[in-house]
Structures are given as structure tokens and as C-alpha cells.
Symmetry: C2
Subunit: 123 residues, 2 copies
């Protein structure tokens, strides 16, 4: 993962429409959703959605597969993992314990035994 690829991922998720697409597809894992259903779910014009899907696919955030005249899209979760690793690489050089958040984030300090630390907190 280089800076260019990471930037492409963030560009993808920086539009309301594209963030909506990604969230929808994350929920729909591992089945995926065909383009038309995405458009209907998010109320976006087909050509506009197509534009966004292309951007996201090129960035590697989505995987696409043809099913007859449908195109089924899926989220690429592994890429997000890479991005987080990229962000926290070379972090906090030489300051032991000074960067807990980043360490947990990158999986270097594991949070074993903690109960669902990432659960969304209602609000």
C-alpha cells in the first residue's frame, strides 16, 4: 500500500453517495448487491451511481462480477485493513507506550478479551 492507493481509498469514502455505497455493501457481505439495487436503495441516478462505482472499483474498494446483464458489487474489506496499517506505519517512533490508540488500531497491541470494544455507542 502506497500513499497514492491510500489517498484513492479516502477519496472514495469522502462523498456521501460513495460512503453510502460502501456501507450498504459492507452490510451486504458476502453476497453483494447489483447496481440497480444500489441505485434504488440510495436514490441516485443510474449514470451518477455508475460514475461512483467506477471510481470505487478502480481504487480497489469494490469488487465487481457480471451476472448476465447485472453487475454485482461487493466491498473489499481487506483493503481497509491495509489502509489502517499504512496510516499507522512508522507511528510514534521511539516513544514506548506513547501511541496506544495507533497500536490497538494496527493490531500490534491486541485487545484480547475486551468485550466488543468497537460497538457503536447509540448516538
Amino acid at each position: 500500500m502506497d500513499e497514492k492507493a491510500a489517498l484513492a481509498v479516502f477519496e472514495c469514502l469522502s462523498s456521501g453517495v460513495r460512503l453510502g455505497v460502501f456501507r450498504l455493501l459492507v452490510k451486504a457481505e458476502p453476497v453483494g448487491v447489483v447496481a440497480g439495487d444500489i441505485a434504488a436503495a440510495l436514490d441516485v441516478a443510474p449514470s451518477s451511481l455508475s460514475f461512483h462505482l467506477r471510481t470505487m472499483t478502480q481504487a480497489g474498494l469494490l469488487r465487481v462480477e457480471q451476472e448476465g446483464r447485472f453487475l454485482r458489487y461487493r466491498a473489499n474489506l481487506a483493503l481497509m485493513t491495509e489502509v489502517v496499517g499504512f496510516l499507522t506505519a512508522n507511528c510514534c517512533s521511539g516513544v514506548p507506550g506513547g501511541c496506544r490508540d495507533a497500536d490497538v488500531l494496527a493490531g500490534r497491541i491486541s485487545d484480547c478479551g475486551a468485550s466488543n470494544p468497537m460497538q457503536e455507542s447509540k448516538a
Copy 2:
């Protein structure tokens, strides 16, 4: 963390300049860097940098503190952790094992004992 806040974070990291700022500050944790040094390091005009720093601070991605006539900026790693949790919440509903990447990413399956799983792989 709601969708609006997550979107703001991604908007922040979707510009080359801002991604550069964040990476610089992650590396500089927990000391931080003053605005002028950020501008010098990234070769950005002061007024332009100021614009980006304001965006990032408003999104909560940066913390700022005044030191005389300097402003020292720091990265807020905890927010990134929240964002990842937000992204993977409600993921892969009812499909056991069908979403390993997301589970590892969100810390629900811990990767205890694995050796530095996030290390950047040379390329």
C-alpha cells in the same frame, strides 16, 4: 460516531496535502508539530495550509494547542479507531465467518499471537 462525522474524517484524508499532514503528525506523536514546520515539511503556502488545518481540526482529526505565537498540532488517533468501528458496525449480518477481514479490523476476533500482522510489505 455518526455518518456525518465519519464523512468529515474521510473528506479530511481525501486531499494529498491533508493526508500528508496527518501522516506527518502520526509520525510525530505524541509531540506534535507547529504549523510553520508542517508548511515547510510539505511545501505548502501558509494560507493554504491554514485552510486545511482548520478543516481537519473541525473534523476532530487534529488537536491544536497554542504555544506563544506558535500553534502546535497533534493527530487524534482515537478518532480513526472510532471511524473503523463505524465502518464495520452491522457488518455481514448473520453470516458466520463470512466477514473475517471486518471482524479482525474491528477487533471482534482478536489476532492474539500473530506477529505484526499490519507491517507494510515493502512495495
